[in-house]
């Protein structure tokens, strides 16, 4: 099934996202960026550039570089007077007095739809390369205040780009969808969107799965760039006071200062104070000059106080138009990178009477994420995902020392199958008990027993030699089959368990919570058991070698070793893993002589006392004696 994408076609930047395995994912462009500048350019030789590359050549080709095209979408010439003054390219009237751009590089006139289609085209092409399949359908977002003509223009842009636009949705609605707010009943939602260059505030009402825009307001020329500019102005003024040089007259210095200002702004969202360091920023007759300045968050907030205040008017007006008061708001959603600034978050909190905004989705991507979720619903992807079941709890078997060894982890998508090879715990053990368990606790006794069976007829052999392959298989209906097979004889036994997913949601949540609460105690207990198992294995090996080496070991050495074995056995009675490990270490030191005597005479315990090298797929779990 072809994927449907969600696109946030923005004034300055655009983002494209898709549902992947039930989760919305932002698709990076060919250059690896998650955000693509909404810029289109034609070079002198007619080559078309979109995104970062178009932006990089803007200064040498301003009349052929189109940015902010969204401000002209579906607009008539007379509506664009203010905007026209702010762009370096030529805006001309079309046949029905609609605004179009004229680019000398190609000598052609383009509708804003065509320019937007070029942006959409790059997003589409890059996403196709990423997903490895063609994309033909999309959900595109527009500002809530877009009128029919602007919405139609956006739809047309999609069509020109080869995309069937299944739905045009409002940006604030998409942001609310990203947080799943469409499932709320009769709530008022505030969406506060402060981007790089525009500010939008919307009041939404949700009920019966429908989100309705009650009111919208904003400032089409207010954004993060204004905050950067305040830092630039302040730092440049301070530098001029100290050094008598105006950095704003020096292009290169100004560019470095702009970057440093943006970096400082971002840092001040995390820390209370930052340092702006620009060595060799300029020079005069006395030599090089350096710029070094501390900027505190409070100073920054002071510098931008009026910008923050400019958000208040539109907010109040939006409330008034929606005919509600701030206390009626149930949810707050923040959109746009500038809402990361603590001063903006504080303002929103203050205006809404202390309401905590939703967090978790990147504010630069939240609109595209919401559009992708809408696309997923339209494409049935979201429904599809529910058909795939997962195992709610881990499944495994009990192994030596009462430990649960997990074969299938919780949340594994079914159908699935997993095998592991186990061995015996005692010499000449001829049967193993398979104790099938479900749960998240490390110890068998704390988990739920799903069933037990016995595999017998294993030919007598030293412990660790027989190979018993245990297979867990869950089919699409959630039915669990557990089988055990002795590799040497081919004998096998199996059990079918149908109740493995019959727990209700409450039970599952409780079991997972319990596992969480008991983690530390369980961990220690498991460590003790593991240490005991290792010690047991080591004692077994040492005793075996002592027997086999006979008189080759001097009497006093033998006595030392026997004493160390006794000490280890004693430590194994206790519950302190550290004590067991230290006894094992001592045992290992005393047996060094024994290893030499028995070299080439069979296996020796590894450094941790475990037996290894029995075959690649043999795990270190062993069944208890049957």
């Amino acid at each position: 099934m072809a994927k449907i994408v969600g696109i946030d076609l923005g004034t300055t930047n655009s983002v494209i996202a898709v549902m992947e395995g039930g989760d919305p994912t932002v698709i990076p462009n060919a250059e690896g960026g998650r955000i693509t500048p909404s810029v289109v350019a034609f070079t002198k030789n007619g080559e078309r550039l979109v995104g970062a590359q178009a932006k990089r050549q803007a200064i040498m080709n301003p009349e052929n570089t189109v940015f902010s095209i969204k401000r002209f979408m579906g607009r008539r010439m007379e509506e664009t007077e203010a905007e026209r003054k702010l762009v370096p390219y030529q805006v001309v009237p079309g046949p029905s007095n609609d605004a179009r751009v004229k680019l000398p590089a190609t000598g052609k006139t383009y509708t804003p739809q065509e320019i937007s289609a070029m942006i959409l085209g790059k997003l589409k092409t890059d996403a196709e390369a990423y997903l490895g399949e063609p994309i033909t359908q999309a959900v595109i977002t527009v500002p809530a205040y877009f009128n029919d003509s602007q919405r139609q223009a956006t739809k047309d842009a999609g069509q020109i780009a080869g995309l069937e636009v299944l739905r045009i949705i409002n940006e604030p609605t998409a942001a609310a969808l990203a947080y799943g707010l469409d499932k709320k009943e009769h709530e008022q939602i505030l969406v506060f969107d402060l981007g790089g260059g525009t500010f939008d505030v919307s009041i939404l009402e949700v009920g019966d799965g429908v989100i309705e825009v009650r009111s919208t307001n904003g400032d089409t020329h207010l954004g993060g760039d204004d905050w950067d500019q305040r830092i630039v102005d302040y730092v440049a003024a301070e530098f001029k006071k100290e050094q008598g040089i105006d950095l704003r007259q020096d292009r290169q210095a100004l560019q470095r200062l702009r970057e440093a200002a943006e970096k400082a702004k971002i840092e001040l969202s995390q820390v209370m104070e930052t340092e702006i360091n620009l060595p060799f920023i300029t020079a005069d007759a006395n030599g090089p000059k350096h710029l070094q300045m501390r900027l505190t968050r409070s100073k920054f907030e002071q510098l931008t106080e009026d910008l923050v205040q400019r958000c208040v008017g539109p907010f109040q007006q939006a409330l008034k138009d929606a005919k509600i008061s701030a206390s009626d708001l149930d949810e707050v959603v923040l959109v746009g990178g500038s809402t990361r600034m603590p001063m903006v978050q504080d303002l929103v909190r203050k205006l809404t009477g202390g309401k905590e905004p939703h967090k978790g989705v990147n504010p630069d991507e939240v609109v595209a994420v919401g559009a992708a979720i809408q696309a997923g619903v339209l494409g049935g992807e979201v429904k599809d995902v529910l058909l795939l079941d997962v195992t709610p709890l881990s499944l495994g078997v009990e192994t030596l020392g009462g430990v649960m060894t997990t074969l299938i982890e919780r949340n594994t998508t079914i159908p699935t199958s997993k095998s592991e090879v186990f061995s015996t715990a005692e010499d000449s053990q001829t049967a193993v008990d398979i104790h099938v368990l479900q749960g998240e606790r490390p110890l068998a006794k704390d988990n739920m027993t799903l069933g037990r069976f016995r595999l017998d007829g294993i030919p007598p052999a030293p412990r660790g030699i027989p190979q018993v392959e245990v297979t867990f298989d869950i089919d699409a209906n959630g039915i669990l089959n557990v089988s055990a097979k002795d590799r040497a004889t081919g004998r096998s036994q199996k059990i079918t368990i149908t109740a493995s997913t019959n727990l209700n949601k409450g039970d599952i949540d409780r079991l997972v919570r319990e596992a969480e609460a008991n983690r530390q105690a369980d961990q220690r207990q498991r460590e003790t058991i593991e240490a005991r198992n290792q010690a047991d294995s080591m004692v077994y090996q040492v005793e075996k070698m002592l027997r086999e080496s006979g008189d080759k070991v001097p009497g006093n050495v033998k006595a030392d070793i026997e004493r160390a074995v006794e000490q280890t056995k004693q430590a194994m009675q206790g519950a302190d893993p550290a004590a067991i490990r230290s006894a094992m270490e001592h045992l290992q030191q005393t047996t060094a002589a024994l290893y030499q005597a028995s070299q080439g005479n069979g296996a020796q315990p590894g450094p941790d006392g475990q037996e290894r090298g029995r075959g690649d797929d043999v795990v270190e779990g062993e069944f208890r004696e049957a």
Binding site: G32, K44, A54, R56, Q57, G132, Q252
Partner: protein
Amino acid sequence: MIDEQVIAEFEKEIVDARRKADEAHDKYLRALADAENARKRAERQAEMRYDDQRRQFLLRFLPVVDNLERALQHADAADGLRAGVEMTYREMLRALSDNGVQREEPLGETFDPARHEAVEAVKTDAPSGTILAVLQPGYRYGEQLIRPARVRVAV
């Protein structure tokens, strides 16, 4: 003599069974393809994440190299300190190049927006698009652009 009706029923069943088998096989193939695509994408995603981390890491360091270059431009040639700074700078460049990071100073080349960023445009006699000055060198890691070179371009 076999009853024709029985034959017809069998034939219908066979057709049905074939159709079901075809459908199931199709679903199976799609599931396999989905899994394979997801795996490939996960691999590529891991690679992209790694590329991005390297880029972010290098981007934070390159201004230090820039400042060493600025220091050298201002230093007096006869100064012993300058020689030391220059050695430090060369060592830094070698460390970068040993790790696959190439410095680019495209003076005199033709502007390419895939690798260069125009920060100044000047009308001169030089052919349009010629890079007249490199104001800040660019860096790349193999095919990956870490930072475009900032240039002054003839228009």
